[in-house]
C-alpha cells in the first residue's frame, strides 16, 4: 500500500513535470532548482521529527490516556481527550496506537474520535516541525484556531447518531 502511494505520487510528478517541460523548458529547470532547495531545507526537520517521535512516544505515559477517555465523561472528557491528542507527538501511528489501546480498554467512541481528530489536527511537534516551515506562520496559527472546535463537532455527531 505504501508502494502504491509512492507510485501514485510519482505518477502525478511525472505527468506535471512532462507537461511543464513540453510547455516551457526554462521554467521547468527553474522549478527543479526550487524544489531541490525546498527539499534540502525540509530534510533536517523531517529527520528530527521522524527519528525523535518514536522516543518521545516511548517516554510518554501512554497507558494513562485510556483511563481519561471513559464513555461517561461528558464535555470535560471531550476537552481532555482533545488536549491529550494535541500533546501526543506526530508521526504516522502514535496517536492511532494509543487510541486503539483506549478503545480496547473501554473508552467511549466519541472520546476516542475527539482524541484522534485532535491528534491529527494539532499534534504540536508536527505543527512546529512540518507545518510552520512550509506555510506562512500566520496562516498556520489561523488554521489551528479555526480547527479548535472540530474534535468537539465530530464527537457530538458521534453522540447524536450513536455510532460507531
Amino acid at each position: 500500500m505504501n508502494l502504491a502511494i509512492d507510485i501514485a505520487l510519482w505518477a502525478i510528478v511525472v505527468a506535471l513535470g512532462t507537461t511543464l517541460f513540453l510547455r516551457d523548458q526554462p521554467s521547468f529547470s527553474d522549478s527543479l532548482t526550487f524544489a531541490r532547495r525546498e527539499f534540502f531545507a525540509l530534510l533536517p526537520r523531517i529527520a528530527i521529527g521522524m527519528i525523535g517521535s518514536g522516543f518521545i512516544a516511548e517516554s510518554l505515559p501512554g497507558h494513562l490516556i485510556p483511563s481519561l477517555l471513559g464513555p461517561g465523561t461528558g464535555a470535560a472528557g471531550l476537552a481532555l481527550a482533545s488536549l491529550a491528542g494535541a500533546l501526543t507527538p506526530g508521526g504516522p501511528v502514535v496517536g492511532f496506537a494509543i487510541a486503539t489501546a483506549a478503545l480496547k480498554s473501554g473508552a467511549g467512541a466519541p472520546q476516542v474520535i475527539a482524541y484522534t481528530i485532535a491528534w491529527a489536527l494539532f499534534a504540536i511537534p508536527r505543527v512546529l516541525v512540518f507545518e510552520i516551515p512550509a506555510m506562512p506562520a500566520r496562516v498556520v496559527w489561523l488554521r489551528v484556531l479555526v480547527s479548535l472546535p472540530l474534535p468537539f463537532l465530530a464527537a457530538w455527531a458521534a453522540i447524536l447518531t450513536g455510532k460507531p
Partner: protein, 181 residues
C-alpha cells in the same frame, strides 16, 4: 518566474524545541530501557524516515510544478479570496484526494498560497487532507481501528474542512486590515 517566497531556514526555534524534546526523550529511554530497546526504536524510526523521503521529494516537486503550470489568475479564480464556497469545496476535494503525508501536503499548500490561493482555501485543504484524506486512513488508521470505526469517523469529518475553511476566510478578512496597517 519562480514563485517568490521568503527564504527558509533549515533550523529555527521550532525545530530546536522538538530536537531538544527528542534528545531528552532518547536519553530517558536509553537510561530506563537499555540499549536494545533504544536501538530498536532508532532502527524503526530511521527506516520510517527513509521510506518518507520519496514522498517529501514528490511533494516539493508537485508544489513547484503546479505553481508554474497554473497561471496565478487561474489559482486566484478557483481558490482565491473571491472564490466563494466553491473555492473551499475545491480545496477540500483536492486535500482529500492528494496522496502522501504531511510532508507532501504542507509544501503544496505553501506553494498554492504563494501563487494566489487564500488562507481559507489553504486551511480547508490542509484540514481535509488531515481528516478525510484516504491514503492516511487506508495505510495507517484502518489496520488499527477496522472498517466500521474509520468509516463513521470519516463521515463525521466530511463537513469539518468546509466549516473551518469558511471560518478561516472570515477571520482572515477581519485580520487583514491590521496586517496592512
Amino acid at each position: 518566474m519562480t514563485p517568490a517566497r521568503r527564504p527558509r531556514r533549515a533550523f529555527d526555534w521550532s525545530a530546536a524545541v522538538v530536537a531538544t524534546l527528542a534528545i531528552a526523550s532518547a536519553v530517558f529511554v536509553f537510561v530506563r530501557d537499555g540499549q536494545a530497546r533504544f536501538l530498536s526504536i532508532l532502527t524503526d524510526d530511521v527506516s520510517l524516515f527513509g521510506s518518507m523521503l520519496p514522498k517529501v521529494l514528490a511533494g516539493c516537486l508537485i508544489g513547484a510544478f503546479v505553481t508554474l503550470l497554473l497561471p496565478r489568475e487561474t489559482i486566484a479564480k478557483w481558490v482565491g479570496a473571491e472564490s466563494g464556497i466553491w473555492g473551499i469545496l475545491v480545496a477540500t476535494v483536492a486535500g482529500a484526494i492528494l496522496p502522501g503525508g504531511p510532508f507532501t501536503i504542507y509544501p503544496v499548500a505553501g506553494a498554492f498560497l504563494a501563487a494566489g490561493a487564500d488562507a481559507g482555501a489553504a486551511c480547508a485543504f490542509v484540514i481535509s487532507w488531515t481528516l478525510i484524506g484516504y491514503t492516511r486512513a487506508i495505510v495507517w488508521e484502518l489496520p488499527f481501528f477496522g472498517l466500521e470505526f474509520v468509516t463513521w469517523r470519516i463521515l463525521f469529518s466530511v463537513p469539518l474542512p468546509i466549516l473551518a475553511g469558511l471560518a478561516a476566510r472570515f477571520a482572515w478578512r477581519l485580520m487583514k486590515p491590521k496586517i496592512i496597517a
